[in-house]
Amino acid sequence: MDLQLRYLNTDFLIIGGGTAGCWAARAFREHSNARVLIAEKANVKRSGCLAAGVNALNAYIAPGKTPQDYVDYARADAEGIVRGDLLLSMAEGLNRVVASLEALGLTILKDEQGRYVTRGWRNVKINGENIKPILAEAAKAKGHISILNRVNVFDYIVKDNRILGAYAIRVDRPVLYVISAKAVLCATGGAAGLYQPNHLGFSRHKLWYPPFNTGAGLAMGIRAGAEMTTLEMRFIALRCKDTIAPTGTLAQGVGARQINALGEVYEERYGLTTSERVHGTVMETQAGRGPCYLQTIGISKEQDEDLLKAYLNMAPGQTLRWLESRRMPSVQNVEIEGTEPYIVGGHTASGYWVDTNRETTLGGLFAAGDVAGGCPQKYVTGALVEGEIAARAAVKYMNDEIAAPDADAIEVVKRKLESHFIAQPTLTVDALEEAMQAAMDEYAGGIRAFYRYSDESLVIADEKIRELVQQSEQLSATDMQELVYILELSERLTLCRSVIAHLAARKETRWHSFAEHTDYPEKSAEWALYVNSRLENGEIRIITRPLVREGEVYEH
């Protein structure tokens, strides 16, 4: 198959029209009259991790609390490995974006005095079934924003450490786009599908994070030599068994405690940080006191009804489970389990190493949302604030010229893509993906290794991933969708190598389950620093950097 070449020019290219991307487009247009192009692999109306909806905004600051309180909370939860400058600038914008979302039509629970009803001090309750359509409409409502749906960006165009644009293909037609831009925002989301998932059969895509978020933005950055941070701080979600539905609504919403099979509340034994809650569940199960549950028996019938509706707005499969089994949470505790590890900067601190303005180490390339590192616990609203900060900073590039694309480089990219259309029927993407996930699971701390790994197991993981990288070069496609699957596998493999290198570099166990190194089972004060990395001549170079506090402005 021959790919048709198309050249596009824009001022500000946004890769990924999800949470951060849509909001950044809107924010950019409030500061500049320049053109924006959003390139989106799916459809902005329901793309990204908010496709199904969400029923709380988990980053909000209740009256009486301050942005500094939020920073302190996130720092404690991450055992100190956070960027104070990033967290504080994010926290300062949280309540403003919550108010903007409400003005755009999002339903937020209020009391009789018209004040938001909070869950704890960091959370407001919403009906977020349509939050993604609201965000997409907010972007569309501003002029000079073009949206290209079904366009998959797979590599940056970089010269002398300055980004000039990106390459993309159409998912549904044989078209290769060469997109030139003055500045670029990477907002592709984090990565799922690196590790073997909870279900191995038909339901293998029932993940916490979207299986369509393949780590494209992270892989593009790694390949282009951008510095990455804290990829070893994986995220593992504690979820309802089988449906992988959220547990927060049960734990915080109706006050269900985590109990083991003996009915004992085990939370206090292991600590209450996000990673410790997962760790405790693993430990109880390993000690023979599993399975573990959220204790819902005894809640009222009215609460049952409310929960059925609450889950419809974010995880309809859980409502389906309760209805078809006729076993409601009031009569049956909800079993819980940990998911496979993800790389997701909205929850942990992994992602691009950015300056205070969210600019990466590649000039003109910004990162926001789940691809941006150093700023955990950002959730939806924090991702929106990051999109605003990046968009505002990108304006400074708008007086630059758009660089002409290099014809020779384009030809190389085009030929490499087209080479996958030559039949090599012995290998399939699915088979290599399964091999990758099995290697990561067994040797790099997946579910079935109880999230543990050692120096030796990581060496094996790296060898296996390198072999798979070689094999993936020979994969063949018959249409554009299959070509996208090949590119996605390549993205995951690229990211797996960096994750393994990061896991090996941090010689301590700072976060149980998220990074459980059996050769170094204790936390060490020596490792109160960032583990960063950069790909140089095909090898991953580890860089350690001292912690950055709030009040500082960090420049590369």
Partner: protein
């Protein structure tokens, strides 16, 4: 978790094709189909987008599914979700977008 498309009810409008975040739905002979249902995330975007209630969400047997099928219908701010069990019994839940989650 995946979806099932009722070819009899499908009118071939293609709105599900455009909305699926995984690009998994295609039109085949003017009817929507999902050639690789095991790639579905279960987000139900297509279920809500379909005005004909031709798309149903279900839980795979490997995750303990019991054969129930759930469809959705929208009217202004209201979403009507209907679960039909294999024994033919059905249950409808109505959610108003103006009502927030209370938990």
């Amino acid at each position: 978790m995946s979806i099932e498309i009722d070819r009899e009810k499908c009118v071939g409008c293609g709105s599900c094709v455009g909305i699926c975040p995984g690009g998994l739905i295609r039109l085949d002979d003017e009817k929507a189909c999902i050639p690789q249902p095991e790639r579905c995330w279960g987000c139900a975007s297509c279920v809500k987008e379909c005005s004909e209630e031709a798309i149903a969400l279900f839980l795979g047997e490997d995750m303990g599914g019991l054969g129930g099928r759930m469809t959705a219908r929208q009217e202004d701010t209201l979403l009507f979700w209907t679960l039909t069990r294999p024994d033919g019994t059905a249950q409808t839940l109505t959610v108003d977008r103006r009502d927030s989650n209370k938990y």
